[in-house]
């Protein structure tokens, strides 16, 4: 079963996503920021990383960069809820940095799962 790493500083979102994905049978790990995510990935590489953009310490863009540098094959979905600056910019940037999918919070379940399945398709 595919392994998914969720990176978000919001515990509620992590919990909700974990439940959503476990229900579908995925193995789920979580990290509260980019540094922890990279550390976690090294120990237990994931098939897919779902990361938030705006996080304290190491933000999503940096996390994507760090992961891509170390593990060039990693699949990434970037999520953002918007903020001070136009949210679309961050997501576009994340896409440029190598995120395969970008989604705007809040994301409907079926949209979320569709993106996950598309990326992990053959592993289903």
């Amino acid at each position: 079963m595919a392994h998914i790493l969720i990176v978000d500083d919001d515990t509620q979102i992590r919990d909700m996503l974990r439940q959503m994905l476990e229900r579908e049978g995925y193995q789920v790990s979580e990290a509260a920021d980019g540094d922890k995510a990279i550390k976690c990935f090294r120990e237990f590489p994931a098939d897919l990383v779902i990361t938030d953009i705006l996080m304290p310490e190491k933000d999503g863009l940096e996390t994507i960069l760090g992961l891509k540098r170390e593990f060039s094959e990693v699949k990434i979905i970037a999520l953002s809820g918007g903020g001070q600056v136009a949210p679309k910019n961050y997501l576009l940037m994340a896409q440029k940095l190598g995120a395969q999918r970008i989604l705007t919070k809040p994301v409907e379940r079926k949209e979320m799962l569709r993106a996950v399945r598309e990326l992990l398709g053959d592993k289903e």
Binding site: K58, G81, K88, M112
Partner: protein, 1196 residues
Amino acid sequence: MARILIVDDSPSAIGIYKKMLLRLGYDVVGTAFSGVEGVKQAEVLMPDIVLLDIVMPGSLDGIAAAEIMKDKFDIPVVFLTAYSEDELIDRAKQVEPLGYLIKPFRRRELKAAIEIALYRREMERRLRETDERFRFLAETTGDAFYQLRYDSMTYDYISQGIATLTGYTPAEINTRSFSKLVKKVNIPGEGDAPVDLIIQCRILGQVGEYFADYLIETRSGEMKWLADHSFPWTDDRGQVIGSVGILTDITARKKAEEAYRESEQRLAAVFRQTPAMIVITTLKEGRYLEVNEAFERISGYTRHEALGKTSLELGIYQEPKDREDFVQRLQDYGEVRNYEVTSRDRSGRKIERLVFAVPITYREEPCILSASSDITELKRAQRVLADKQARLNAIIDSAPLAIWSLDRDLCYRDFNAAFGRRFREITGVELREGMRANSQLSPGGAPKWEEQYQRALKGERVEAEHAFKVRGEDLFVRITFGPIRSESGEITGALMLGQNITDQKLAQEALRRSEERFVLALEATRDGLWDWNPKTGEVYFSPRYYTMLGYAPNELPPSYDTWTASLHPEDREGAIQKLESCIHGASNYESEFRLKTKSGEWRWILGRGKVVEREADGRALRIVGTYFDITERKESEANIRHLNNILRSVRRVSQLITREKDRDRLIANACDVLVKNRGYSFAWIVLTDDRGSLLAAAQAGFSEDRLPMAECLEERRFPECVLLALGRPGVLVLHPAAGLCRGCPLSGKCGSRGVMTSRLHHDGVVYGAQAVSLPTNFVFDAEEQELFGELVADISYALYNLEQENKMKRLEAQIRQTQKIQAIGTLAGGIAHDFNNILFPIMGYSEMTMDDVTAGTRAHRNLEAILKAANRAKDLVRQILTFTRQTDHVLEPLALQPLVKESLKLLRASLPTTIEIRADIDPSGGPVRADATQIHQIIMNLCINASQAMAQRGGTLKVDMREIELDSHQDAIRLNVSPGKYIRLTVSDTGCGMEPHVMDRIFDPYFTTKALEEGTGLGLSMVHGIVHSYSGAIEVTSQLEAGTTFQIYLPIVLGPAAVPEPKPVSSHLANRESILVVDDEREVATVIQLMLETLGYQVTALTDSLSALEMFRSAPEAFDLVITDLTMPQLRGDRLSRKLLEVRPDIPIILCTGFDTEAVDEIVMGAAIREYLTKPVVKDRLAEAVRRVLDQDKGK
């Protein structure tokens, strides 16, 4: 070296001698073989010694030759002889040879003989010289030398001088005869004594020296003093055998001594008895060494009391420091003269002394000889005199008269202060005694002065008047010149007294002028003259009296009744009363009244008169006076009063307009003021809008006649005068006679003089018109019109100000609105992220739970409701973000026309058929910098609002778009935009319209008139926000039940319009410039690198600022731009920037920072950094900033 001559008859002997002499070192100067030859040789050679053979052949033997040599040439001889016979030796002795040598002799003997001879010769020479000297002295001086032998009591020798002293020759004098001459003997220590040789002998024996003075009577009977000074004369054994001495004439000295003694005595007497106080004191302490009787008398101290005491001990000086001063002067000048000092006598009485002193040496001590006289009385007298003089001077100086005197040479001598002052005032020169009196006092008038002075000097008394100019004013002086006579009656000078008669003169002059003036006045006056005798009723009227009333002289009978008949009925009583009061008391008469002219007009007359004669009972007998026509003055007085009233009105209006901020009250009060201050009989103001419709009106002064005007205005009909004024600038005067007022409801109410009107306008804007009327007796002259013009300008300006203020208020409201929206936007943007994060789990959990719950149950339906609400919340967040421009819109030049058409197409489908859409889109309008989506939102919002307003009744939606020019200042100000070209989009409906209070709030966020489900209340706020972000403006007008119109103005930009499709960051493409990126966080550096590389730049990214600096230093020209983080270890970004700029001052730098922009500003400015970016860095902004900096750099 002695020179020797050898004389011998034997040549061989000569040879031997010569050889011996030469060997002994003598010089043999010659040889001779005979006496004759020897003498000849000696005469020529003059040798020191001659060696002479005694026995020689020839006429002269040695002895004879020696005799000649000795006598004639004084050359000494040493005899050489082989004989020693006594006879020969004796003969040889006679010539006193210097020596003998007996032949044969040895060399040694020769030497001894020669040396002894030379010595003897030298001794003899010296003795001879001494002897000669003594003899010369003894025989030539007036003194007498003597040598007295005691045993025989005879003079062994007495010199020739005795003859001079006594008149007796040495031969005639002897001790006895000398004793007889001596009349008196004076021996020091012995006193007077007889001439006694025993005494002399005794003194010589005891003292070894003897002095005595003798008074002798000479042969001629003359008395002489001789001084005898003698020494003992001893024999070989030391026994005193007599005395040697000298007698000297000391008569002169004795006489001098005598005279001196006598003088001394006389001096002492003078010293003692002189009336001046003479003292000798020590210089040092002032101790008295000598004082005279005068001192005793004046000081009160006796000589015994004073001597040995100091002047200070005796308290002679009143001020001890006076002595110090006195001594100092003495030392400084070598003497003291006329030194005045105050002393005290023994009793303490004050004594003034005048002192003379010189330094002397007395008893071998530096002393002061001083003589002083008592001048106490003199001083007192002097003081009295000086006081008297001063008093006299004061009297003279304080005299108002100028007093001065001249000497015979016409030079100023004495003068008082008054003259000195006048002199200075007139000439500018300080007068000094001795100055010559020339033309200074009156330039050009010198001869007159001189002549008057000269006459005074000749003894005449002259009086003359002189005129001067002092500081431009006249000064007249009467001067009395008189002689000054000495006691002997001789004229020594002239004395002048000058008296100021200016006032007198001016008074005379004034009198003269006034008389002259009177004559002139009589000739030139416009006054009519009258002369009335109240008793007889006789009157005289001057011709002018008649002509000023239009009559020929004497055309009317000269009577009192003539006057009363022509008086104005209103004035008659008062005028007569005033005149009659003069008859019974008042001496002066003045009255104003009107008189009728021949043509029937009234003239104002000022009558003035004076009672010149009265009867004994006081009744006036004769009154004389004048009539003066003051009609013009009276008229202008009234005019001035009126203008003053108007001016007062103007002032009140000025005050009013600064105070009154309400338009209607302003015009009403203005009218009141104009009328109440009696400037105008009525005033009214009409205000119109820019289309000429009535806005407001006010009036004053019509009272009950107001109604027709109010009616007229209510019907929006303006009187002709107002229409005329509105049509043209300037003040307009309308006379009823011109016929313009015909048909006017106010006709006839405005007064017979008509009205004066003007439009109210300022800065090209017409606000309305104002009209006034004047009281009946005034005319609308130029001055009136000018004042009215000012009044109108003031009121216009006040209206303009009011309008400006209102505009400002509206603008402020608009600005407040924008700020409110912006504040809400910022807040919304801030919470959007968190809000979405919250929504996400709500939605997620809801969806998952719905899986767990059977569909169709209540729980499932509830979950659906939660999900629906969450979705609404999600949409709301998106809308808020849009409305606050938090979404990423790219503004670019855009042609709006196709966008509008596109949007209208969409609308048509959704609007009900009851609504007709009329679009008028001018395709020629220029592009606007905008975002297509936002433009679409604007159109949709406005059109949907419009359609909703017409939902019930249907109607027309009009959309109009065209390019316009906002060139008028007013429009631009009203809209708060810069003047220029704009696209104006007008959306209007024919719907229900809005209440004003609704219109005020339509742009407020969340304000809505719709049902909760229908709208968010953000639509118009969003439109407002977008329009303002495009530097445009939005205006709304609405009328209830008539419709609402929105007008949007968007500024046109230059340049070609883009295709109306959003296109990302295409304008920031790179030109392969090289950029150095420095950030200590590798990821950030990489992100930026990636971003820039995708934009087409060449990028070098480093994480260490020191390496970056090093790299830059090694190749500063390799980079076009540096982008650096601010917070870095080791070398902060701002410091790195500074160092980079040191290497290459033109290198553009962009600073990235995680901080707030304001906090970093200072640092940025300090390091002259071009741009700064806040983290996280967004690609668009990065691209923009990089492009801007590089283009800016290229632009240079």
